[in-house]
């Protein structure tokens, strides 16, 4: 186990360095001189030169990368050129909102997906199983932005029971969290159902059935416990997928999180802010995956560093 953990951690370093390299080169992706773009149309050559020095743009790709790493490790991500806020402050303002939304959606997806998956596997070949299968495939086939609009229309406009968007307690959280959760729930349901189908056919379940245990006990106490293990990986990966979905869902629901901050920043070519948010999202994704792998390794000792 220790060796497995060490191996995983050893891979973490080059991965993070690679991510930092990609984000540090974001500035070079944009056509034109980043300093000119940041300072606007009327900047003087002296201003541009000063900013080029500050952004290490005169150092070339590799030189800039090294200096950028240094700044980042000191917690300095620069300032947004539009709001003049330090990038770390702008991110800190939006991060809690996205965390709240993504984690709620993730819990909903994991719980809803598991329930659906168990329901599908417990009744294979019946109309109930078919309906559940249909629901899960529909879930991961629906475009989230459209689903969000549809839910806003129904709940806010037709039935007047929930607000259209914005923040302010559980009533505001409900629609965006459900919207974000639906595709992930569909995928999780699929994996839980597969795992359940396998587990229900396994020897120990048959033994339990032979002992005369009631069906609910077989399903939940025996089969589900075993089926959940492979599904854990998927649930972890889905937390990463949710980070993609937030860009769309936050835009649709006027949710003031990282996704909208990022989308606006892209629209305004606010390069340092884009760089900061992309770095944060990618690092979060990698760390979540690491945690999932470690958790998986603990549950299932057969797994070793692949």
């Amino acid at each position: 186990m220790a060796r497995y953990l060490l191996g995983r951690l050893a891979w973490l370093v080059p991965t993070l360095l690679g991510i930092a390299f990609v984000t540090s080169s974001v500035l070079y992706l944009v056509p034109g001189d980043p300093a000119q773009i940041l300072l606007g149309e009327m900047a003087t050559p002296a201003q541009i030169q000063a900013l080029r020095v500050q952004l290490h743009l005169n150092e070339g790709l590799w030189g800039r990368y090294v200096l950028y790493l240094g700044d980042t490790l000191h917690g300095d991500l620069g300032r947004s050129y539009v709001s003049q806020k330090p990038v770390t402050v702008a991110i800190a303002g939006a991060l809690p909102e996205t965390a709240e939304l993504a984690l709620t959606a993730w819990v909903l997806a994991a719980a809803g997906g598991s329930l659906l998956g168990v329901a599908a596997a417990a009744r294979p070949g019946t109309w109930r199983g078919a309906v559940v299968t249909l629901a899960s495939v529909t879930g991961f086939s629906v475009p989230v932005f459209w689903l969000g609009i549809l839910l806003i229309y129904l709940f806010a406009s037709v039935w007047h029971v929930l607000p259209t968007g914005g923040v302010g307690g559980i009533r505001h959280l409900l629609l965006p969290a459900v919207t974000l959760a639906v595709p992930s729930a569909g995928i999780i349901a699929r994996f839980v159902a597969d795992g359940m189908a396998g587990a229900l056919g396994a020897d120990f379940v048959r033994t339990a059935a032979a002992k005369g245990l009631p069906p609910w006990a077989i399903v939940w106490k025996h089969a589900f416990r075993n089926a959940i293990i492979p599904a854990v990986t998927v649930m972890g990966l889905q937390l990463g997928e949710l980070l993609s979905g937030v860009v769309l869902v936050e835009t649709v629901f006027a949710w003031p999180g990282l996704g909208r901050l990022l989308f606006n920043a892209i629209g305004q070519r606010d390069l340092l802010l884009i760089q900061g948010i992309v770095l944060l999202l990618a690092v979060t994704f990698v760390l979540v995956n690491l945690l999932v792998d470690v958790a998986y390794g603990m549950i299932d000792p057969r797994i070793r560093l692949a």
Binding site: G129, L134, S141, F145, A197, F285
Partner: protein, 263 residues
């Protein structure tokens, strides 16, 4: 069995969508961009099955032509992703060792960036448009295609017939072309089916954000985006393209899933 009828329905929808895409110029009652400003926002009825949008364009015609545009982009994206990702995956899988490790670590780094970010970054750098959207979606598919191809290569590498071919002195290319590729086709085909579904969704997301095909081209995502402004006046303008996306993606998912025998 239930599997049969769901798959039949899925294939039926796919045949319809592909048929609509090909035959749009003949079956659409109006042109997709022909405006009639004085007949704007007509409710569904005879002459305009799904009504008209704010420019008086026929919504049904735009859905049909939209299928064409969407499928073109999706197929181009999947072809690109499979070509590049497949090449990387087979190379890594066949070579093994550090080549394999380096490639797969690189793919992990790319995968660490949420997909929409990759697409937005690519389109921001290149400028919006259908062609660039296809490129962005293709780029997103590369790492997963590489993983699929790699695992196919790994599972075949130690099979008897491959080892026998090596023993008989067949070169790498020959082994690849004669044995690995033909035996991986069904896996790749399934991957392509699922990827087409995802490509359709991502294309819709990009054009919803204004980064995909540009107006007046009838793109489903853009139709949702502009229909949304008229949600209360004419909900069908938002509902119809959304349902078109949902049906197409679900059909791709069902069709390819049954092939793979996942459930």
């Amino acid at each position: 069995m239930k599997g049969d009828w769901t798959r039949r329905i899925a294939l039926g929808i796919l045949v319809f969508v592909v048929g609509a895409a090909i035959a749009a110029p003949w079956i659409a009652p109006h042109g997709p961009v022909a405006q009639n400003l004085v007949a704007a926002l007509k409710a569904p009825g005879p002459g305009h099955w799904l009504g008209t949008d704010q420019y008086g364009r026929d919504e049904w015609a735009r859905i049909l032509y939209g299928a064409r545009l969407t499928l073109e982009i999706a197929v181009a994206a999947v072809a690109l992703g499979l070509a590049i990702g497949g090449a990387i995956g087979f190379w890594a899988g066949m070579a093994g060792g550090w080549v394999d490790a380096v490639w797969m670590r690189l793919m992990d780094i790319v995968l660490a960036f949420p997909y929409l970010l990759i697409a937005i970054a690519v389109v921001t750098a290149l400028g919006p448009g259908a062609f660039h959207a296809a490129f962005a979606i293709g780029a997103y598919l590369v790492p997963s295609a590489a993983r699929v191809a790699r695992s196919a290569a790994l599972s075949l590498k130690d099979r008897d017939f491959v080892e026998a071919a090596h023993a008989l002195g067949a070169g790498r290319w020959r082994v690849f072309a004669r044995h690995l590729l033909p035996n991986s086709l069904s896996t790749l085909w399934t991957f392509a089916g699922v990827s087409l579904g995802r490509a359709v969704i991502f294309d819709a997301a990009l054009s919803f954000l204004g980064l995909g095909a540009q107006p007046p081209q009838p793109s489903w995502g853009d139709m949702i985006n502009s229909g949304r402004d008229y949600l209360l006046a004419s909900p069908v303008l938002t509902l119809a393209p959304g349902i078109a996306i949902l049906l197409t993606v679900a059909a791709f998912n069902f069709a390819s899933e049954r092939r793979a025998g996942l459930s």
